[in-house]
Amino acid sequence: MIKTNNLTKIYRTDEVETVALNNVNVEVAKGEFVAIMGPSGCGKSTLLNVIGLLDNPTGGEYHFNAQEVSKYTERMRTNLRKSNIGFIFQSFNLIDELTVYENVELPLLYIKMSSAERKKRVNEILDRMKIAHRAKHFPQQLSGGQQQRVAVARAVVTKPKLILADEPTGNLDSANGEEVMDMLTQLNEEETTIIMVTHSPSFAEYAHRIIQLFDGHIVTENIKKEFHL
């Protein structure tokens, strides 16, 4: 599903050039659950952003579903992203002015789904994420765990093929963290591909494979579980 060849990302300011990704070659198969680990500043989030089409690489190739997308314009990336990729962030990134229901509904608005269909889909996912009773609440009225469940609901409401999670448990206590990991595992079992950045070795254990990054390079790849298509 995902394949990168010598993927490079360099950040330049007037005086400093920072290599965030240095010839990274990654392959992720459909339905796989991959964890990316590494120290702060090693390029984990940058890799996730490039894979998530939030950012273009400086060099190398990026194949998404067998299409080379590294040179895509923003509009093309947005179109590809909105129907294929869901995001989960450490800081939840919910919109404060929208209710739980509206936050989850948001991605469906941008794919122009009908109102009835949206309603059905949002209610379904809120039920599934056990947050339906909070549908009319605003994010700041929820606990951290609840907020992240809303964020997960929003990420999966469009039924994306790929979910990218950037330290999804980073702001949660262990119980809520476990709960989120269980959700991701369940989604993965339903054949959603998941790539997760994490600092936590225990949560990384949920993945089929762990990629270790250091200074923009892949240093090791550990297969934790058997994965079959």
């Binding site: 952003n49 998530g52 939030l54 950012d55 923003e74 509009r75 947005t78 179109n79 992203r81 909105k82 129907s83 995001f87 962030f89 990134n93 919910l94 919109i95 404060d96 002015e97 929208l98 509206e102 948001l106 991605p107 608005l109 941008y110 794919i111 929003r154 469009t158």
Partner: protein, 806 residues
């Protein structure tokens, strides 16, 4: 999707009540002021346009060149209109003349009513101008002598609810008018407003048939009426002007040559009369310059309100960057985001418009008082104006929403979600603050200068003492006959110090006649010079200063026929310099080379301002009158004025029973010459307060926003040992600098504008550096108070709170 935009907009508004209030309030105030001033300007520009034929109607005006001096008058000669119709039948369809009626005391049964706004007019009035008849027939209303039409409210004043048609209204002339029509009140936006019009043909009996219809050359040189012509449907006013030289040759030249004078016909389109006329003997008019000034003030207020809105909207938008990031991550295209921000902005601006419309309704009565108008705001009747305002609001909403729409939507989501963007330096905002304060400073300097000039006009030494002078104008014929006895009675009161009479009152215009004067080589020459008749006491009553020669002496009977007093300007203009005493002056040059009165100069009075300070002091000759003069000036003591007036009224009723008691205080009457300036002074004062208030609202919002943005910095500085004063200084200095810089823009612009305005006056204050400095300092102080109100709060915050939060 629209629902989503709306929801977010409303929730944002409610969540940030403080900023939303500042934002919407500033714009609403700006829009309210713009609507109010817009209504005034629209009204000024609409004068006389309610007449269906206004585009075909022109007012005739006079340009006299007597010797080398030019005079321009709104009034014209009696036969001018008929002669033009006769000579230019292809172009001039009809004429209509208005002649002011004097002694307008109307009587029905025992009821007496005095009314100033009464004219004689030609019967063409009804077809010429659009006046809606409530009763009576327009075609027959003024056809015969002694017929009169009344306005609805005047008819009510006289006849109450009774039908006035056919009733006879007696006048002070000893004859009556039969009421043949009642029309709706003349709209306020008419340059010539009247309460009653008598048929012009009535005057045929007074003048005699021959004189009434005379088109002899002499009758073209006597101006007394307002004349209008209406062009034929195919007519062209240029044809009339082009044909004027031949017309002049035929009608005016014969007498013109004898008196060495020229008459040039001037025409003014009816719709231009109100704003573009600055002529002698005119009715009260507006001034296009003030329409321009008011429009600029409105534009300023709107600009300040809009800048405020844009500033706050863009500052606030930085807080929305995370939302933009999220929306982009979940699939929003730039176009969606642009639409969202624009939509939000438009919703807020239209909310401000709604508030502005409500505020307009509330404040319109007060504004009407300031500008002395009867404006009303009805959206249905004023649709174009309303659409204009809505259009401006739309533009403001669009421009204000464009910044977040185009700037924020271009953010890279990865970066905004990391919090890397969203804090701009705010240079644009600071430049806008600079612009806002420049405008505010211009308005403050303007206010200072207008007030200074008004004070100058009020306090300037006019060459006579205008304080404590009561002027009575005797209209009653018996009163005029017993003028001396009336004065003697008045002087018996201990509070009435002096009494004197004159043919005219300062500030109310004087007469002009061709005079013959002795040149340096001893020959006689002619020149048009102002004149006023007085009695022996007038110069003393007015406290005018004789600087050469002597005053009139009641003991010298020769003074009446052989002596004349002139002012300094007259001595200078006639070339007599320092030695005018004894020079010959023939008052009122006759066509045969003689004068009405051959006099010699016996005295020179110090120049005095007989006209307003808009004009330079003109030469004037002051003569003794052998006939009673209607205007009595009384110098009274300052104490017990009410009692004194009561006494004057008693005596008035005794000597002048026909007319109701009427008086003016000379100082107040002279101040009325500056009504337009007083109006502009009030507008400037109120609207500069509004300007600075809106600007400060914006500044307060921005200072609050900056303080919020710099919470962490402030806390760290405090931990490192900064005092409250240090923090306040840091937060204030940047904005203060911009306010100080605003002076650089404001001062030259204000200087140029005010210099131009002061050119309207022959006598004016010098532009004071202190007015400019004062405005700058005032703006800075107000700005500092505004900023520090918020900065001090920020500086007093416990740093642990902020750092914990961070």
């Amino acid at each position: 999707m629209f629902k989503n935009y709306l929801k977010v907009a409303v929730r944002n508004l409610l969540r940030k009540k403080f900023y939303s209030t500042i934002n919407i309030l500033g714009l609403a105030i700006g829009l309210t002021c713009t609507i109010l001033i817009g209504l005034f300007v629209q009204n000024e520009l609409s004068f006389d346009k309610h007449h269906e034929n206004y585009e075909r109607i022109y007012r005739l005006e006079s340009h006299f060149t007597i010797q080398e001096s030019d005079d321009f008058f709104a009034a014209t000669a009696f036969p001018l209109g008929p002669a033009l119709k006769l000579e230019f039948p292809q172009d001039v369809e009809e004429f209509c003349r208005f002649m002011p009626m004097d002694n307008n005391i109307f009587q029905i049964d025992d009821k007496k009513i005095f009314e100033d706004n009464v004219y004689y007019a030609d019967s063409t009035l009804t077809s010429f101008f659009t006046h809606k008849f409530i009763s009576g027939s327009p075609d027959e209303a003024l056809n015969d002598p002694n017929e009169m039409i009344l306005t609805e409210s005047f008819a009510k004043r006289i006849f109450g609810d009774k039908d006035p048609i056919g009733k006879v209204l007696n006048t002070g002339y000893g004859f009556g008018f039969t009421i043949t029509g009642v029309i709706e009140d003349v709209p306020y936006d008419s340059h010539l407003r009247f309460e009653a019009v008598g048929s012009m043909i009535t005057l045929e009996n007074f003048f005699g048939k021959e004189r009434y219809h005379s088109m002899e050359s002499g009758s073209f040189w006597n101006i007394s009426i307002f004349s209008y012509i209406m062009l034929t449907k195919t007519g062209n006013i240029q044809n009339v002007l082009d044909g004027y030289p031949a017309f002049n040759e035929k009608y005016l030249k014969p007498v013109g040559e004898q008196i060495n004078s020229k008459f040039q016909l001037m025409v003014q389109p009816l719709a231009d009369v109100h704003l573009h006329s600055d002529l002698g003997y005119d009715l009260p008019t507006g001034n296009i310059a003030y329409v321009h000034i008011f429009s600029i003030v409105a534009l300023f207020l709107l600009l300040i309100g809009c800048i405020n809105y844009m500033n706050m909207a863009t500052a606030q938008s930085a807080n929305r960057s995370t939302e933009v990031g999220i929306r982009k991550v979940v699939g929003a295209q730039k176009s969606y985001l642009r639409s969202q921000f624009l939509m939000e902005s438009l919703i807020l601006t239209f909310l401000a418009l709604l508030l502005a419309l409500i505020a307009t309704e509330l404040f319109l009565p007060a504004f009407n008082e300031i500008v002395d108008r009867h404006l009303s705001f009805n959206i249905a009747e004023n649709l174009n104006f309303f659409l204009g305002i809505a259009g401006i609001t739309l533009i403001v909403g669009f421009v204000a929403g464009s910044y977040p729409a185009f700037y924020l939507s271009s953010f890279i989501p990865v970066e905004v979600l990391k919090g890397k963007m969203g804090k701009s330096k705010g240079t644009l905002r600071k430049i806008l603050v600079l612009l806002q304060f420049s405008i505010s400073i211009i308005m403050i300097v303007g206010t200072f200068t207008v007030i200074q000039q008004l004070n100058f006009l009020r306090d300037k030494d006019l060459g006579f003492d205008k304080e404590n002078v009561v002027v009575l104008t005797v209209r009653d014929t018996t009163g005029v006959k017993n003028l001396e006895a009336f004065q003697d009675e008045l002087l018996k009161h201990s509070q009435i110090l002096k009494a004197g009479t004159s043919s005219s009152i300062p500030g109310k215009g004087v007469g002009i006649l061709v005079q013959r004067y002795e040149t340096l080589d001893g020959s006689m020459a002619e020149k048009g010079i102002n004149f006023v008749f007085i009695d022996n006491d007038y110069i003393d009553v007015m406290d005018m200063k004789i600087i050469k020669g002597r005053n009139y002496d009641p003991e010298l009977t020769t003074d009446l026929e052989e002596s004349i007093i002139i002012n300094q300007a007259c001595a200078n203009v006639l070339g007599w310099g320092d030695d005018p005493i004894g020079k010959k002056l023939g008052f009122g040059a006759n066509l045969d080379g003689t004068s009405t009165r051959d006099t010699r100069v016996i005295g020179v009075v110090k120049d005095f301002h007989y006209n307003s300070l808009h004009n330079k002091i003109d030469p004037i000759v002051i003569l003794l009158s052998d006939r009673p003069l209607r205007n009595i000036s009384l110098r009274i003591r300052q104490e017990n004025i009410e009692k004194t007036l009561k006494y004057i009224e008693e005596k008035w009723n005794e000597f002048c029973p026909t007319f109701p008691f009427d008086y003016i205080f000379l100082d107040e009457s002279l101040n009325e010459q500056y009504i337009a300036e007083q109006k502009i002074g009030r507008v400037f004062t109120y609207f500069s307060i509004m300007c600075i208030f809106i600007a400060c609202l914006g500044l307060f919002g921005l200072a609050s926003y900056t303080a919020e943005q710099r919470t962490k910095e402030i806390s760290i500085r405090k931990v490192m040992g900064a005092s409250v004063l240090n923090i306040v200084f840091i937060l204030s200095k940047e904005f203060s600098l911009w306010v100080i810089l605003a002076n650089i823009i404001a001062w030259p612009l204000a200087y140029l504008a005010l210099k131009k305005w002061l050119e309207n006056f022959a006598y004016s204050v010098d532009l004071s550096f202190f007015a400019f400095l004062g405005a700058g300092v005032l703006a800075l102080i107000i700005a500092l108070i505004t900023i520090n109100f918020r900065s001090i709060k920020a500086a007093l915050t416990n740093p642990a709170e902020a750092l914990k939060y961070e």
